[in-house]
Amino acid sequence: MTIFRSFTRALGLCTVLVAGAAVTAPAQAGPEDKSITIGMGEDFPTLDGYVNTSRDGVVITMHLYDGLIYRNPKTFAYEPLIATSWERIDDLTWEFKLREGVTFHDGSPLTAEDVVFTLNYWADPAHGARSQGSVSWIDRAEAVDDLTVRLISKTPFPAALEFVAGSLPIYPSDYFQSVGPEVFGQKPIGAGPYKLASNEGGTIRLVAHEGYYEGGAKRTPSITTVNWRIIPDTATRIAEVISGGVDWIWNVPSDQVEQLEVVPTLDVALASTMRISMVALDAAGRTGDTPLKDVRVRQAINHAIDRKTIVENLVGGDGELLNAPCHPSQFGCDQSAAVVYDYDPEKAKALLAEAGFADGITVKLGSYRDRARAEAVQSYLAAVGVRAELEMLQASPSFSSWREGKVGMWYGDWGSFSMADSSASIGSMFDGSSNDGARDEKVISLVKEASSELDEDARKAKYAEAIRIITEQAYWVPMHTIVMGYAYTNTLAFEPTLDELPRFFDASWK
């Protein structure tokens, strides 16, 4: 894989050099017919938003379906979508008033019955929603009348609206029941701004839904056709955007973004995301009798890594240094509550010696995504005597190796399901589950309480306390935010968002 990557990089450079000299033809579609062709890396086995949880899948879901409410990606405020208003009735219940005149892509009206059916269907674990966390809190949905729905949670659940706004698309109950979930996944009908026109041979075509309602948070698209092309190879995707075969790509590696800047027809961005990166440490000793169980060793590791230099040189773009185990934009993520470890290799050596490891230690370091960053961490650690055996894997097996306690250190990242709430970061990574390499009883109970505490100040205080313990105990080395690389034709008005969900209904041709 290393060879492959360096080849790809070298090739990226060649491509750019060549492109500088080449005459650039217009994209195969574009402003003339109000269409856009985008290059995505992942294919979708299904277009069912409750089953397809890959990032690219979530993006297409957003275009096909509408949920009850919408979270503005800039202000993080909730805005009306299918629901025009909502209020908390009691600790467990939210009531939503539905908009009149909302229709699905087949023209049938959207009523309370559709909402109730969809949410109750997927809240049932037997139906296999792949992201159980987003529906398991729901006890039931009830219709009050044709345009009023109540959503009742099992326990008081402060993050309820985050989930309603994020990942609960509404399906037409009659159609879904008549064709079944498998067919629905291939021929979906939603109430979103785009409907599915065709899905074949690696190209998915979306066209604007003519009956889309006005006044919701998603606007009626000005780009009326989105050709969704699946191009798995990054280098090919880059070549396509340079040659004008596609208008828009993402997941461009940061060094290649810099190279693409010279292409006169392209705009590029290395934009902030809500994804955070960390080196998680096996404080609980899941890998056996490891030196990482000693807090001094963990603190030494925190002092040993020059995070600032890594952020400046290897993350680039909008990448930011992190001190707390959550994203600063998330509710409850009080960075000031964190104990900060400055870069101090001498202190690291002293701490290691104090812990009885003057000769250094050997630990397995799992990672994926970015070898350069992982190797930087490896060499900083080596400088103080921590011999990290680097194991680079694909995302899924790498994360598995951390969860199964096969690696003592894991330089990974966490996207919080794009939810602006610490329950999705601290609450998912320090909850005693397999993600949690600390297993600190005090922290576990703090995040559990915070996840059902409705009083905002009390919630904040609990997360602040959790952050203090986590950083004091050095369970993680909080690293940085992850940036997303984009490249798109410069005649396109497009703005990357923090939640890594490109919205083509918001984009337009200049």
Partner: protein, 307 residues
């Protein structure tokens, strides 16, 4: 001939069983299929539900037995993710891969046959040297690298050919060149070696002495014998191509079986991976068998040896 066929068929069945066991065990041990299904960021609750829904909480031998049972009834299983019959998914994409393999093989042979013959006819000359260099280069350049180079030159700079997708025949040109150049070198070397050997043999000397013209001598008398081992090799190469298509299809975004395999591996969609591996091994076995039979038809001596 019949006993021979029977023996080959039994062997094929045994190979298939072994392949299925290795594939089943490895794919389940290498990474947790539940994580593949639920996504890397799934919670423990997600995983528990997934394991139960897909029956992954049962012991491996039980799952294997069930798998084989279904297989014997012609049921290749249902994709974890697409929830569609695996066989249907593969058959849908097979034409793309078959076309790619056919074009690549045709290209490889179109280069290897004349070059190999020329090299044998004029050994140690410039023609021979050049074709050797070509063969070494073709083999030394990795698939993905050649593919990306072609993309840069013919797609980005010259803009003669489409870079990715499988809509028209033009979309297959670059992938076929990539895969064909990879299959060509061993074929060419084999043709060259075979031709040199045959050209030195007694019956060619006799034919030459009888005044048969060099053209007829080379292509009518010599090539027919020199090409025998090429058939076996071409069959194996065709099998290799199915493997090579995993890389090539990903680079050129061809929606074929190779890409499906890659995609399923990265998502731990076990039923699809298992079916594809079985299918490839089956194709291998059939191709080698076909090559043996073809050789038997072309060379009566082989038939005798195997009675």
């Amino acid at each position: 001939m019949l006993t021979y066929l029977m023996r080959r068929a039994t062997m094929a069945a045994v190979v298939m069983v072994i392949v299925s066991v290795i594939c089943f065990v490895l794919s389940n041990v290498a990474s947790d299929p539940a994580v593949g299904i639920a996504g890397a960021q799934a919670t423990d609750a997600d995983l528990a539900v997934v394991r139960q829904t897909y029956g992954l909480d049962r012991p491996l031998p039980v799952r294997y037995a069930e798998y084989i049972g279904n297989l014997l009834q012609g049921d290749f299983g249902t994709s974890y993710l697409a929830k569609r019959p695996v066989l249907e998914m593969i058959l849908e994409r097979l034409p793309v891969t078959a076309l790619l393999a056919f074009l690549s093989m045709a290209l490889a042979l179109a280069i290897a046959l004349p070059l190999g013959c020329a090299a044998a006819l004029w050994p140690n000359t410039l023609v021979d040297r050049l074709s050797q260099v070509l063969a070494v280069t073709g083999q030394a350049i990795p698939n993905f690298w050649a593919g990306l180079l072609l993309i840069v030159v013919f797609g980005v700079q010259l803009r003669w050919l489409p870079i990715s997708g499988s809509d028209t025949l033009a979309h297959f040109v670059l992938p076929a060149i990539t895969l064909g150049t990879f299959a060509m070198p061993p074929l060419m070397r084999l043709i060259r070696a075979g031709m040199i050997e045959v050209l030195a043999s007694d019956y060619i000397r006799t034919a030459r002495a009888m005044g048969i013209r060099p053209f007829a001598l080379t292509f009518k008398y010599a090539l027919k014998n020199a090409v025998l081992p090429v058939i076996s090799l071409a069959a194996v190469q065709l099998g290799f191509m199915l493997g090579g298509s995993i890389v090539v299809e990903s680079i050129f975004a061809l929606n074929g079986v190779g890409y499906l395999a890659w995609q399923s591996m990265s998502r731990s969609d076990m039923p699809v991976i298992q079916a594809i591996v079985l299918l490839i091994s089956m194709i291998y076995i059939v191709l080698t068998l076909a090559a043996d039979l073809l050789n038997g038809i072309m060379d009566p001596r082989l038939r005798g040896a195997r009675k």
